[in-house]
Amino acid sequence: MARLRVVGSEKDSAAERVDARIAADEDRGLLRFLTCGSVDDGKSTLIGRLLYDSALVYEDQLKSAERDSKRANAGRNEIDLSLLVDGLQAEREQGITIDVAYRYFSTPRRKFIVADTPGHVQYTRNMATGASNCEFAVLLIDARQGVLNQTRRHACILSLLGIKKVALAINKMDLVDFDQATFEEIAEAFSEFAQPLGFELITAIPVSALKGDNVTSPSANMHWYRGPTLLGHLETVDLSHDTQERPFRFPVQWVNRPDQNFRGYAGTVASGTVRPGDEVIIHPSGRRVHVARIVTADGDLEIARQGDAVTITFAEEVDASRGDVISGIEEQPQVADQIAARLVWFDEEPMLPGRSYTLKCGGQTTTATISALKYKINVDNLDHVAGKTLELNEAGECNLSTGKPIVFDPYAENTDTGSIILIDRCTNATVAAGMIEFGLRRATSIQWQELFVDKGARAQLKGQKPCVLWFTGLSGSGKSTIANTLEKRLHALGRHTYMLDGDNIRHGLSKDLGFTDADRVENIRRVAEAAKLFVDAGLIVMVSFISPFRSERRMARELFGDGEFIEVYVDTPLEVCEARDPKGLYRKARAGLISNFTGIDSGYEPPERAELDLKTSETSPDALAESVLAELRRRHVV
């Protein structure tokens, strides 16, 4: 065994040399990429070549590969570089890669983590797995075969997983006589196919992994090619999307509470930055707090950036827990219990709509059922296909209903807070990987803003009790007339009021709606929500709306607290209304010029238990307004 000697240099000591080397390394980053392609495209050989050429193969590993090469291919003297990479015994025997293998090598410019993913069709899930942790992909193509079904499938999976940049390594160029036209044909065919896949960069490189052409050094056999070598490209490819400033996200991983005096929240910054003093929001509770310290074992930080594993403390006493997500006050994450997500199915048991699975999203764990498979995604071309279930290796767009609301971002905006896995609750197998598209229940996707001045405080300042008077009745029944009279009286009494009139609302808030049943329902929902806001502002609100359906009036009623909703039925027979016809609408409806007109060709459901029942055919509008005012006094509203 030879004594190992360090080669001397002009530097005096090992410490100085190592320090200089480390100083030069300071900005050396990390690139995680995966290699994929069909069986026999030469992935393992290519990685073996990268390791071999970057002098990262040790003598004993080489010897062991040499020994194995001789055994596997009796008579051949060349070392089979793929044997450096194909790790598992079974693979060495069958000559295929059966799992994701990770390899490491580095150059002065970058450190590389390579996920070697299988080309076998049944192992698509492993490719998705490899891709989920990579930011770049090398897609191999056998120059003799061109773009194959597998190539297309792998490109589609890369696209589904959000990989934006790929290198197309057109391999085995030595077997097509290093022919330029062959290379260009394949590159062209791939670009054309990949057009809809949304890759930002496709770099085609002609290589021979076996002979070493254009892998780490430029090929002497392909003078027509002027682009970078594969390694050169890996060293320099711009991943600047990482540096873009994105909104702050910090999923709480673990609550750090060594004693009564310290309560910190440990986690890794998923995106953006945070500084002590920043106002932040804890989701899903919506609590607003201020960051006190960013604690690390190496001292407190002035700023924490994406990827930093830190512990955050707050100035306020709060009780956050694992699964909570902390964000800045701008650009908050969504919160929903209904989400749309793209799933890639990983299990031999097919996906079953309605079955309950365990869902993990960051530190959040809950149950989830798939409420609908909207369509399957053909992973060979990303086309949408109708389907009822997802089988192993299939992908689809699904609606999921979760056991409790989850905090998330769309996957396209944040892979950390937008990715999920589904786990079988009996076998504990990971059955699916998911990319969240968006939340389905819009209302829950907007976090409740914590308010310090509330309804009571606003009302107190006005010296009144806020409520809504919901006038319902046929067109021409006298709703607006009575409501207007009432508002004038209240105004004169120094009360703060607001009027929401059906016709006026349809000129603005609801001008996009028609008069179908569905549109009427939506119209009522909008008005009820608007009324709720005004009540919250401390006002006495009058809503003058036909609001023909009981269920929508009930829906409106349920938005308000006890005693806040006063339903006023303006009870005028249809004949009376039609005789009055103040806007000439009945006449038009009878003439068929207007359709879906309440009372004519659309129904009206009278209230069963209205707080007030006003018979307009017997009493004047002024007297009726006065009786409503009496009711308000009785209720201590005024």
Partner: protein, 302 residues
């Protein structure tokens, strides 16, 4: 004085800390397997960082074969004391009573009883549901395919064809009673990363890693250090003093030294950059037969 970490080392550190916190949050009863070597030193250092200002919320466990270098045992005890962490030591007493030794029973049987069996005994006895290990994927080919979260069935065996896919940073930590997880937070570190990190972070390591004059004998091309008088010498054989160090540490009769002058961390790093021998070459047990590490792993060895 502590030096600044380069971008990629910081990224590796953050990733390892994330994994440790995930395990602390998701498992009921985790433990950290501490083998006293450089990787364990780094793993323990990362655990101290991950839970700071708290102490790691799990004990250290050393599976002692009774044949470790004496300096390793001394280092183990002083480190646990210095850091104020709980240290558990397990010895397969049945194996000791049966007089199992690497010298008389061969490395394969000895490793099985005093390491693999011993480890399984103690993990089962304490009901640990997750055990951290310091293995790295760059050590050996079969380890390159191991997951960070490596599922073990109730018999603590590893099935390379039924590994759980690892997507994003989402770990499927679901296990049933009796099943467990081995977790490797240093999966993505290389030997050079480990040494560079030790240097930059001033992490103490066993002095055996540094070159010194030590008594050795040569056995089947390997330099074996005579650490105590249990190593039988052939007639006429006398230990000679050589300037040696160890790249990897295990049981002294099974661990080969390398001739080296590297007596400081920078010298070790330079030697590593220049060397063309992989670190596991100094381990007798890896060479029993082709694919032998994979076999041991399936049986439950770390």
């Amino acid at each position: 004085m502590k030096k600044r970490l380069s971008t990629y080392l910081k990224e590796l550190e953050d990733e390892s800390i994330h994994i440790m916190r995930e395990v602390a949050a998701e498992f009921r009863n985790p433990v950290m397997l501490y083998s006293i070597g450089k990787d364990s030193s780094v793993m323990l250092h990362l655990a101290m960082k991950a839970f700071y200002p708290a102490k790691p919320p799990f004990p250290l466990l050393h599976v002692d074969t009774t044949w470790k270098f004496r300096e390793m045992i001394a280092f183990r005890d002083s480190e646990a004391k210095r850091l104020g962490v709980e240290l558990l030591v397990h010895i397969n007493e049945q194996g000791v009573r049966d007089g199992i030794s690497p010298i008389t029973h061969g490395s394969a049987l000895y490793t099985d009883i005093m390491k693999t069996e011993s480890l399984k005994q103690t993990l089962a006895a304490h009901g640990y549901d997750a055990a951290f290990g310091g293995a790295r994927r760059d050590e050996e080919k079969s380890r390159a395919k191991e997951r960070v979260y490596s599922f073990r069935n109730a018999a603590q065996n590893w099935d390379p064809k039924r590994q759980r896919p690892e997507l994003w940073h989402l770990a499927n930590t679901g296990i049933k009673p009796g099943e467990s997880m081995r977790v490797f937070p240093l999966s993505n570190w290389t030997e050079l990363d480990v040494w560079t990190y030790i240097y930059l972070e001033n992490i103490p390591v066993v002095p055996l890693y540094f070159a010194a004059e030590r008594p050795v004998v040569e056995r089947s091309g390997m330099l074996i250090m005579v650490d105590d008088d249990r190593l039988p010498l052939d007639p006429g054989e006398t230990p000679r003093m050589e300037r040696v160090r160890f790249r990897t540490l295990g049981c002294y009769p099974l661990t080969g030294a390398i001739k080296s002058d590297a007596a400081t961390l920078p010298e070790i790093i330079e030697e590593l950059i220049a060397t063309r021998h992989s670190e596991r070459q100094g381990r007798v047990i890896d060479h029993d037969q082709a694919g032998s590490m994979e076999k041991k792993k399936q049986e439950g060895y770390f």
